[in-house]
Amino acid sequence: MSDTGAPGGRPDEPAEAPAGPQRVIGTPAPAQARTLLGDGAGDGDGAQPVPRELPADPQNLKQAKTAERIVSWLFILSALASIGFIAAYIGLEVGSVDAVLRSNLALGLSMSVAFLALAVGAVIWVRYIMPDVELTEQRHVLRSSPEDRKAFKETFDEGADASQFVKRPMLRRTLIAASVPLAIAPIVLLRDMGPLPGKSLDHTVWRPGMRLLRYGGNTPITPGEFSSPGGMITVVPEGFQDDPNALAAATAIIIKFQPGVLAPPTVLNWTVDNIVCYSKICTHVGCPAALYEQTTHHILCPCHQSTFDAPRGATVLFGPAPRPLPQLPLTTDTEGFLVAQSDFHEPVGPSYWERP
């Protein structure tokens, strides 16, 4: 701190008054806004007694006394709450919804009170029991003095010279040559984080003749028994009903319409008995397009509200989805159950760079 001399225009005369000559030691300290460490007092001349800068007692003793009592009560309350917390932990079992709710209330309330009482107590303590004080500390320009900067530069240059880094270009260049592949190597090491995508995103597990199962019940469906025109059910490919990776792409929905409602661009050859099947994976970012409005025949994705026109090839009516939901070609097998004619004829789900 001595580098700036004495602030406040005071001549710097260290021989006369080396430490904080703002006031005579022993006289009462001015109440407010004094300089802390301002006059070289902090420079470690330990022999000098450090003048008192914080008042020993609060300005309003009566108020402090009241505050002291309040704070003590708060601290006692905090202690009781903590004890209550321990008691609630020991006394209250968990293991059912009701028990957990009881336990959560007791533990949470006691914990909150324990912290809150401590917090309020500490704030009252600082505000009403500790004496008011406002000190001023000087700042110094962060930029170092020219001498220091020069000395640093010399030290740096000396080190650079001693290292021979500048003088010996072969060392320098080979070091750089060594570091480049070393930096690439860890990236290569991440290669086995996963397989390459290849063409796997282009297809789903649907194959010709594969039955559609109701999601959840896992039962096959006949066109006759699916007799709720206007309803929508989620279907999964038989054999993959518990395979999340397959379902993430292959999940589909079937909707049955009144005769004459279905129209192009729906491929009518791919429907059975006015039942149409679309991919459930939204073409925006892949959420399941799970909401169906019976009156308007709109399929809505709840994530970002892309809206598809179900009777007309699930074309996009609104929202950020760029394409209709792909249609799965349907037929029935010899037992009369709904099956796929083939896989989807285009990739399902969101866009990707290699999408054909």
Binding site: S103, L135, V141, N245, A248, C303
Partner: protein
């Protein structure tokens, strides 16, 4: 000497013998922290982070970061016999079979929301008061990185329980990754270890969530705090506060006690929320399956703007050379956050370039005293706010009973118009507030007393401002210095004569430094009462008081010259 005194002195002496700490610790004890309520916002973020570390550690004692499928037979009977991942089952276990588990889980989640919220408002405080200015640019950048990490950390933590809601969040993450040109599918396959969802994502996110990002945040946080400590805290304008000092209470005991109390407040607030406000009840959502989804699913609030952005943007997609560029995902996922973060990262340097102000700043601006900056900030908030509201447009449409699509259409216009209106309105408000300050400085505070003079004339009685009030109001408008003047670069030709870039700079300078001049106030400012940018100044700016009345030529005293330059160009 009492036993306690002996103990303290003995310990202190023992430590000093070994660490030579007496001097350093004395300085530390007497370090001054200025006081202002907005300085607590960063502390909330800090303490939420500590709460997150404590509660998060507790949760790891039981959480199983595994996607191995199990059939549930635990205490929550509603899901008996349901197939689910071990991650989900262990989260149920924490909630229903570990005493205090639900409480700590909910504190963890609330603290995460509070963490991001506190960072956001702390960030705004720094911006609006100009506390990012030299020498604090590096801390500003560190803060931006920590904010980004906090968003990621939140998203990943939210994804760990593997419930229906969090899995849907990951599905959207996959969709966003896939949209990235050239490498999108590779990134997705590498992250998920193959096709979505795979069985690796939870363990991978787990180690990133509990080790990698917290360690990064901790390191950056330490640097953030150390730099703050080293450069000393900024202070709000007031009596006796200058760029060369710091006024406040010492660390020991004042700041230490206050900040300790604040930690308890933060903990109490999150504990109260966890006690009375249920958050993320994963047992109601069910385990994740790519087949299902629940309507009205909402992410945590800090992801809302991304969700809204994805909802708002239209379905533009390109097919070029046999490849798909999914602008409909790419732009809304990357551009808004990119705009805000990049803009924020460059802003301190852009402002320095425009104003030529290379001085150190330790006294904060009141937002009104930097109208253009404040207006830019409000425009950014509006931009973010529109996206955020659009992220909940289904809820809004439901409550207001209007069409879902109408809310999106409105948001598509509001995202453009909103920020412009916010900019303009904010700037007018700031200039108006400056005029009010000027009025107070010149005429004092209206007391509400009307006095009749012996002549019959009525006058209003005003009270002159106290020194303290004057100090808070009478702030030198900071950027009012000629470009290049800061470091004596006066040989540089005047602005506007240095080609295209110089012209851009001069224009930006005029916009950025637009302020009501502190005319006629006897403080050394030049007394020129002529208008400036907005053309309204004449109506409100008082006629300069007597001794300065004729001083409108622009040859003001020290400090007036630059304003004359500004005024002359109006």
């Amino acid at each position: 000497m009492t036993l306690t005194e002996k103990l303290i002195e003995g310990t202190g002496s023992w430590l000093d013998d070994r660490f030579h700490g007496a001097k350093g610790f004395r300085t530390l004890f007497r370090k001054i922290f200025p006081d202002h309520w907005t300085f607590l916002l960063g502390e909330i973020a800090l303490y939420s982070f500590i709460i997150l570390l404590l509660t998060g550690t507790f949760l790891t004692f039981w959480f199983q970061p595994s996607m191995t499928e199990v059939v549930y037979h635990g205490s929550y009977t509603g899901l008996h016999g349901v197939r689910m991942s071990e991650a989900y089952a262990s989260t149920l276990n924490i909630s229903f079979d570990v005493r205090g588990g639900l409480l700590i889980r909910q504190i963890h989640h609330w603290a995460a929301d509070l963490f991001v919220a506190a960072i956001l408002v702390h960030w705004l405080r720094i911006f609006f008061t100009g506390a990012y200015r030299k020498p604090r640019e590096v801390n500003w950048l560190i803060g931006l990185v920590m904010f980004t990490l906090a968003l990621l950390e939140g998203l990943f933590g939210y994804s760990l329980p593997d419930d229906l809601l969090s899995g849907t969040g990951l599905r959207i993450t996959e969709g966003v990754l896939l949209s990235i040109p050239l490498v999108g599918t590779y990134l997705s396959y590498f992250l998920f270890g193959g096709p979505f969802p795979g069985n690796l994502i939870v363990p991978r996110l787990y180690i990133i969530h509990v080790l990698l990002i917290p360690a990064l945040i901790l390191a950056l946080l330490s640097a953030h705090l150390f730099i703050m400590f080293w450069q000393k805290h900024t202070q709000m304008p007031g009596e006796g506060r200058t760029d060369k000092n710091v006024v406040g209470a010492p660390t020991y005991p004042y700041f230490a006690a206050k900040t300790g109390a604040f930690f308890f407040f933060t903990f109490a607030a999150t504990a109260l929320a966890a006690t009375f406000a249920q958050i993320n009840p994963i047992w109601l959502y069910g385990p994740y399956t790519p087949v299902g989804i629940s309507a009205g699913s909402q992410p945590d609030f800090y992801m809302g703007f991304l969700e809204g952005s994805l909802r708002l943007w239209p379905s533009w997609t390109w097919n070029i050379f046999g490849h798909v560029v999914a602008w409909n995902v790419l732009i809304p996922a990357l551009v808004p956050l990119g705009l805000i973060l990049t803009g924020a990262a460059f802003w301190p340097f852009i402002e320095q370039w425009i104003t030529g102000d290379r001085r150190e700043h330790h006294v904060n601006d009141r937002p009104r005293n930097a109208p253009t900056r404040t207006a830019i900030g409000m425009a950014a908030i509006t931009f973010y706010g529109v996206l955020w509201l659009e992220g909940a447009n289904d809820v809004i449409a439901d409550h207001l009973n209007i069409s879902l699509y109408l809310t999106t259409e409105i948001a598509r216009y509001a995202i453009i118009i909103g920020p412009i209106v916010a900019y303009w309105v904010t700037k007018r408000i700031c200039l108006g507030l400056q005029r009010k300050d000027l009025h107070l400085l010149e005429h004092g505070v209206e007391t509400g007393i009307i006095r009749q003079l012996p002549t019959g004339e009525y006058v209003e009685v005003t009270r002159p401002l106290t020194d303290e009030e004057v100090a808070a109001l009478d702030v030198k408008r900071p950027p009012a210095l000629p470009v290049g003047a800061a470091q004596g670069e006066l040989e540089v030709p005047p602005t506007g004569q240095r080609g295209g870039l110089g012209e851009v700079r001069e224009r930006a300078y005029k916009v950025l430094t637009e302020s009501v001049p502190l005319d006629g106030h006897g403080n050394g400012y030049g007394g020129h009462g002529n208008g400036h940018g907005d053309g309204h100044a004449g109506e409100h700016t008082a006629v300069p008081s007597g001794e300065h009345a004729g001083d409108g030529s622009g040859e003001g005293q020290e400090g007036g010259g630059s304003e004359a330059q500004e005024g002359g160009q109006a």
